[in-house]
C-alpha cells in the first residue's frame, strides 16, 4: 500500500511520463455502502450509473463523508491535499472570479489578486477576473473552479460529473480542454462520470457497480472486454442478451429463436445460462434471403433507423429482441424492411452466470475480468459500440 502522500507534493511530476498509481482502498458505510479498491493513474474515469455511489466515493476521498482506508485516512477535509470540483463547479456565488480563484491563497489582498490574475491569464480568462460566477458559461465555470482547486497544489483532483450540466456538444469540447489542462498541470485526477465518451478519453477507467469497483484498466482494454454485462451497459454496449450454452461452441439465444456459433469453447458447462453481448459496430448487414440455418446469419425486421453525422444506428427486431447495428449511413434499409444480419462469432462476448447477481461481493473480481474470454477476444468494436 502506498504511504500517504504529503500535502502539496504532486504524485505525477511530468505530463506524459508513465503515470504513478495512487492506490485507493476505501470503505464508505453511508449513504451508499461502498468498498472500492482501484488505482488512479493520470486522468482516471470512475464510470458508474446514476446512484451507484460515484459522488459518495469522491466525497469520501475529499474527507466530506466518513470512510476508512487509504489514501488520506483520518485526515480532516481541510488538511487533505485534494482539489474537489462538485457537479456544476460550485463557485462561490458571492465572490468575483478572481476572489474564487484566490480563495485558498493566504497573504495580502494584493498578492492574492496578483496570483489569481496570473492563473487566469494562463488560461486566457483574465478578462473575466471581476465578473461574478453567474455571468460565466458552464465551461468557464469549470475552468475557474479548476484554477481555484489547483491554487493549493493538490496531489489529487476530484471532479464530479464535470460535463453533466453542459449540452453534449459543449461537453465534448470542455472535456477535451479539461483533460489537456489536467495533463499539463501534471495532477492526477479522478473523474466521476456516467458518460462513456468521457471515460474513453481517460488514461485509466474504473467501473463502479453495485457498491464496488468491478473492473479497471486502460479504456482500450475495458471498452473491448467489459467484465460484466453491467460494465458493458455503462460502456455503451446496447446489444446485451441472455443465452444458454448448448454445446461446446453453440449458444442458444431463446428470445430471438436463434442459435449462434462461438469461436471456441468457453469455460462453462453446456446448459449453463449466460449473458452475452455483441458490439453494435461488429454486426453486419447482408441482403435478405434464404439465410436461415447458416451460421450466425439471422433474419430480422428494421424497427428503427437513426442517422447521426457519419454513422447510422439500426434497430433490427429479431424474435422479441432488438439487435443494434452501427453502419455507414449509405444504402440503408427502411423501417419495416426485412434484412439479414451477421453476428460474427469472434465478436460475441460471454459473461457468466446470467444474470450475474452480485459480482461486487466477490473480492477476487476486484481487478479482473468477471467474464469468460474466448481464446480470441474481439477487438476494435467496443469503443464505437452502440
Amino acid at each position: 500500500m502506498r504511504p500517504e502522500p504529503a500535502p502539496s507534493v504532486p504524485l505525477v511530476a511530468e505530463a506524459g511520463a508513465a503515470h504513478a498509481a495512487l492506490v485507493v482502498d476505501l470503505r464508505v458505510p453511508q449513504p451508499v455502502a461502498l468498498t472500492a479498491r482501484f488505482e488512479v493513474r493520470g486522468f482516471t474515469a470512475l464510470l458508474g450509473a446514476t446512484g451507484a455511489g460515484k459522488s459518495s466515493l469522491l466525497r469520501a476521498l475529499a474527507g466530506l463523508l466518513p470512510a476508512t482506508g487509504t489514501p488520506f485516512g483520518g485526515l480532516p477535509a481541510h488538511r487533505r491535499p485534494v482539489g474537489y470540483l462538485p457537479q456544476g463547479a460550485g463557485l462561490f456565488p458571492h465572490l468575483s472570479v478572481w476572489r474564487n480563484v484566490a480563495f485558498a491563497l493566504d497573504g495580502s489582498r494584493g498578492a492574492r489578486h496578483a496570483a489569481a490574475l496570473a492563473a487566469l491569464e494562463r488560461v486566457g480568462l483574465a478578462d473575466l477576473a471581476d465578473r461574478m460566477p453567474a455571468a460565466l458559461s458552464g465551461g468557464q465555470r469549470q475552468l475557474v473552479a479548476l484554477l481555484r482547486a489547483l491554487a493549493r497544489h493538490p496531489s489529487l483532483l476530484l471532479l464530479d460529473e464535470p460535463t453533466a450540466a453542459l449540452d453534449p456538444l459543449t461537453a465534448e469540447t470542455v472535456a477535451a480542454d479539461l483533460i489537456a489542462r489536467l495533463r499539463a498541470a501534471g495532477v492526477p485526477a479522478l473523474v466521476a462520470t456516467h458518460d462513456a465518451r468521457l471515460a474513453a478519453m481517460a488514461d485509466h477507467v474504473a467501473v463502479l457497480h453495485d457498491g464496488s469497483v468491478v473492473q479497471q484498466g486502460a479504456p482500450a482494454a475495458i471498452f473491448v472486454a467489459p467484465g460484466s454485462p453491467q460494465a458493458a451497459a455503462l460502456l455503451g454496449w446496447r446489444n446485451l442478451f441472455a443465452g444458454r450454452l448448448r454445446g461446446p461452441d453453440t449458444l442458444e439465444w431463446p428470445a430471438a429463436g436463434a442459435t449462434l456459433r462461438l469461436p471456441g469453447p468457453p469455460a462453462a458447462l453446456p446448459g449453463a445460462a449466460l449473458s452475452f453481448g455483441v458490439p453494435a459496430g461488429a454486426v453486419r448487414l447482408i441482403p435478405p434471403g434464404p439465410a436461415a440455418g447458416r451460421e450466425n446469419r439471422l433474419a430480422g425486421v428494421v424497427s428503427a433507423c437513426h442517422v447521426l453525422s457519419d454513422r447510422a444506428t439500426l434497430g433490427i427486431a429479431i424474435g422479441t429482441e432488438t439487435l443494434f447495428a452501427t453502419l455507414p449511413p449509405t444504402n440503408l434499409p427502411g423501417v419495416g424492411d426485412v434484412v439479414g444480419v451477421v453476428v460474427p462469432a469472434e465478436a460475441i462476448r460471454l459473461w457468466s452466470p446470467a444474470p450475474p447477481q452480485d459480482p461486487a461481493r466477490n473480492p477476487g473480481r476486484q481487478r479482473g475480468n468477471a467474464g469468460f474470454p474466448h481464446r480470441k477476444a474481439s477487438r476494435g468494436h467496443g469503443a464505437d459500440a452502440g
Binding site: L64, A77, H78, G90, F92, H94, A149
Partner: protein
C-alpha cells in the same frame, strides 16, 4: 407553413396567461397599499404642522430609544447569530423541540413577556436580587429597558437568521473545507456573506420591534421612557395633540435603517 401561425398563437396565448395576473395584481396591489396608508394619511391631514415641535421630554425619549435600541441590536446580533447558525445546522432529532422553544418566545404577548420578565428579573427574583447586590437594578433602569428590547426583538432576528443560514447550500462550506479553510474562515467568508439578505431582513425586523416596543417596557421599564411609553404618557397627560410631534420623529428615525439594510442587501444580491 401551416404549423407556424398555430405555434405563434399558442405562445401568444401562453404569454397572455402569464401577463393576466400581473394586470390584475397592479390595481389590487394599489388598493391594498392605499388601505394600509389610510392611518398615515389621516395622521398627515390632522397634524397641526405649525405646532410640530417635540417637547424636551420627547427628545429625551428619542435619545433613550435610539441609544438603547442600538445597544440591544448589537447584543441581539452578537448572541443571536451563533444561535441561529447552530439552529440551522442542528440534526432533526432536536429540531422540533428547538423550533417550539423559538416559537414560544415569538408568540408570547408583549404584556405577558413584561410580566414574565418582572417575575424572572424583578427585585424579588433570584436573578434580580443577585444583580442588585452588584448594584445592577433590573427594573425601571436603562438595563431593564435594554432587557425589554432584547426579549422583544431577539426572536425575530433569530428566526430570520436561521432561515437565512438554512438557505445557504451546505456544499459551499464543504468546498471551503476542501480548499483548506477551517470552519471559522468558511463561516466568515462563505456562510455569513451568503446569508446576508436574510440577516439584513432579521436585523431590520429586530430594529423595528425593539424601537417600537411598548408592552414589555410598560411593565419592566416604565422608566427610562422610550418613545412608545412616552407617546402613551403624552396621550395621558396632554391629549392626542401631544402625540403628533413625537410620532413624526419616530417615523423619521425608525425608517432609514431598515430601508438602507434592504437596499444594501438587495443591491449586493443583484450584483
Amino acid at each position: 407553413m401551416a404549423g407556424e401561425p398555430l405555434l405563434a398563437l399558442g405562445e401568444g396565448a401562453a404569454a397572455d396567461h402569464a401577463v393576466a395576473p400581473l394586470r390584475l395584481a397592479a390595481p389590487l396591489g394599489a388598493l391594498a397599499l392605499g388601505f394600509l396608508l389610510i392611518p398615515y394619511v389621516g395622521l398627515a391631514l390632522t397634524t397641526d404642522w405649525r405646532a410640530i415641535a417635540p417637547s424636551a421630554g420627547d427628545w429625551q425619549a428619542v435619545w433613550t430609544s435610539v441609544g438603547a435600541t442600538l445597544a440591544a441590536l448589537a447584543l441581539v446580533v452578537a448572541g443571536g447569530t451563533p444561535l441561529a447558525w447552530w439552529l440551522a445546522s442542528r440534526k432533526p432529532r432536536l429540531r422540533v423541540l428547538l423550533d417550539a422553544l423559538l416559537l414560544l418566545t415569538l408568540l408570547t404577548p408583549p404584556l405577558a413577556m413584561g410580566l414574565m420578565l418582572a417575575i424572572a428579573y424583578g427585585p424579588y427574583s433570584a436573578i434580580g436580587s443577585a444583580a442588585a447586590k452588584f448594584g445592577l437594578e433590573l427594573s425601571n433602569t436603562p438595563a431593564a429597558f435594554l432587557l425589554a428590547q432584547i426579549y422583544a426583538s431577539a426572536p425575530y432576528y433569530v428566526l430570520a437568521a436561521r432561515g437565512a443560514f438554512e438557505a445557504v447550500p451546505a456544499e459551499y462550506q464543504e468546498i471551503a473545507r476542501t480548499l483548506g479553510r477551517g470552519p471559522w474562515y468558511s463561516f466568515w467568508h462563505v456562510s455569513l456573506p451568503l446569508a446576508r439578505l436574510g440577516l439584513a431582513t432579521g436585523l431590520a425586523l429586530a430594529w423595528v420591534r425593539a424601537l417600537g416596543e411598548f408592552g414589555v417596557a410598560l411593565i419592566i421599564a416604565y422608566f427610562p421612557q422610550g418613545i412608545p411609553v412616552r407617546l402613551w404618557v403624552d396621550l395621558q397627560d396632554t391629549g392626542l395633540s401631544a402625540v403628533y410631534p413625537l410620532l413624526w420623529v419616530f417615523f423619521l428615525i425608525g425608517l432609514p435603517l431598515p430601508l438602507a439594510l434592504g437596499l444594501w442587501a438587495r443591491g449586493r444580491h443583484a450584483a
